[in-house]
Subunit: 193 residues, 4 copies
Amino acid sequence: MPETGGRTSPKKRADARRNEQTLLDAAAAAFVASGVDAPVRDIATRAGVGMGTIYRHFPTRADLVIAVYRHQVDACAKAGPTLLASSGTPHAALAEWVGLFVDFLVTKHGLASALQSDSARFEALHAYFLDRLVPVCAQLLEAAAAAGEIRSDVGGYELLRAIGNLCAGVEGDTRYDARRMVELLIAGLRRSE
Amino acid sequence: MPETGGRTSPKKRADARRNEQTLLDAAAAAFVASGVDAPVRDIATRAGVGMGTIYRHFPTRADLVIAVYRHQVDACAKAGPTLLASSGTPHAALAEWVGLFVDFLVTKHGLASALQSDSARFEALHAYFLDRLVPVCAQLLEAAAAAGEIRSDVGGYELLRAIGNLCAGVEGDTRYDARRMVELLIAGLRRSE
Amino acid sequence: MPETGGRTSPKKRADARRNEQTLLDAAAAAFVASGVDAPVRDIATRAGVGMGTIYRHFPTRADLVIAVYRHQVDACAKAGPTLLASSGTPHAALAEWVGLFVDFLVTKHGLASALQSDSARFEALHAYFLDRLVPVCAQLLEAAAAAGEIRSDVGGYELLRAIGNLCAGVEGDTRYDARRMVELLIAGLRRSE
Amino acid sequence: MPETGGRTSPKKRADARRNEQTLLDAAAAAFVASGVDAPVRDIATRAGVGMGTIYRHFPTRADLVIAVYRHQVDACAKAGPTLLASSGTPHAALAEWVGLFVDFLVTKHGLASALQSDSARFEALHAYFLDRLVPVCAQLLEAAAAAGEIRSDVGGYELLRAIGNLCAGVEGDTRYDARRMVELLIAGLRRSE
DNA sequence: CATGAATGAGTGTTCATTCAT
DNA sequence: AATGAATGAACACTCATTCAT
């Protein structure tokens, strides 16, 4: 448990952390350039380290991907309750939160596609996203449903998956606006009386 | 010039045609199992033929993929005008037609994912789908918009793309119902006044 | 023995011969374009026949190559004694005959290279050229040697091989003139006193 | 920067270098046996390494071929000026140098054939040989021509090409002596008055 | 601990050759 | 006899992953 103030971790710790951050930055860059399937060697080269180092820190590709996006996923997860408290209505909060999620996905080219992949190597990634975000999404949905604003038969997992899908493979397609499509989806949730 | 019903084509033709069908069936199966990127060798094995046979019939992967789905795409394209004529309202026709398309995509696991692929090798596939279906979808959208039932700022390409995305990677995910999600999307199109 | 005037060979014979000539022409063209290794299918296509037809007429590639060049090789072989009789000196006759051979090789792009090939598939080709031309070349060499014009320690096979080599792979190399190099070689044969 | 005799290069280097030498030896052997087109797998097997190792060390086939012959080509190039200084006459120097080149080519069966190849994949090989040897050959030719010993209308490239050709495909042909034929060629260069 | 050399399975693709029709 | 569909060996090349140094 490396708390900031601890006296236990000597220089080493700082170094290692710096190193890991270099790795994550390099991976993020590689992901943008070549998708989440970017060759390990590319990432290593970008980071200026050997490939072995990457495997040491992140035994599985999913580990690496998760680490790269952890902060943003966490931030997104935390924003849910906040928005619910501050927005006018639950449905508005949901829309805003979904907007946040879309912004995240759309700027991380290749991520949404990776989330679709049923390859075993991305299982952990899948799981992480779900663990963190499904509850949040579900909470927002429930609040909106409880307020009578939307139908109550759509779950967090399903909505999240749909949003992820709508954001996949958008890379340079000027005729397709993922954000708009997601808005349509959210609009479609409205209770039809 | 293969006249309808003519008995002109020599015996060979019959054999070759049968073989080609075997190929298409095998390819379809392989696509379901491994996506549209299924190794040529796998497809050949499934069909019980040599790899060369596949290359003979379908020089390019796109040729194969298109051939596999051609009939259904065509049927889908033709259904558009028909539905428009027979359904109660344009929006109803649109919904029904979209349902048809989703049924097609959802049962062809792997197809939707391939349509997302920006790989050059699938360019022709992409083009084929777009050429055939975008006009139909656009026509339905326009009719519904003209009737004042839906917003008029969503184009055929965009909607088709969104639907395709919603249907991608669904393979065995019991918690996600692509059909429902697409319905949400279509519902979201409704004119919000 | 299908003599022209025989009454034995009905139409069939004429057809078959015409067919075979078509084959040879097509092969010759293909050889020029792609070398003596031209794909069988290419040749068949050029000839407008099926591949099987080629295999029927020429079971081995060497058979085909030999057939293609037979006339010219024979003509070359026959020219030897003629030149010996008509030219001023045996060495002059040798030079002229060699010139003939070089003309032949140089215009048959790819042939010289094929003659070098030690691939078993060209064994018969090799043998044919040797059987026909080595004796002629040897005769000319012997005459010139007997006349005291050239050294007597170079044999027909060896000289032929050297010439063939000098003509190989010349295809479009403007800085290399095979003819000149062969002339150098022949000049080098001169008795050095 | 590998200084002479320095102990700077880390241990690894020694291993890698040894390995590379193994590779070069294996490649040389494979080239002798199957020509410079020897399958990568064969070379790898001979060397007792995986194919990937070869691609790591020599990304392109030309890289490999050049590396295999570099030392000897360089030695040959350096011998030119030396012989010119030490031999009795320029023509003698030329003859000796050519002898060196022939010795090299003849023992590297398959090399001469590769030099003939117009395949794009051997472009770099071709260029390397030419860059290194044409100037040397040209210098010797010019010196002999200046001394009035030989004709002055044959260039370095042309002579080198002719020699290379004479040495091609000699593999186990006991009736053909490339060395003798080249001598004939050189003899043929003598000024004919 | 880091390094990066080595491994080798996996895949696309070409063509000579055979053989059912 | 002719056809051309089918076969399958052969080869190049890429990368994830392991492990000796």
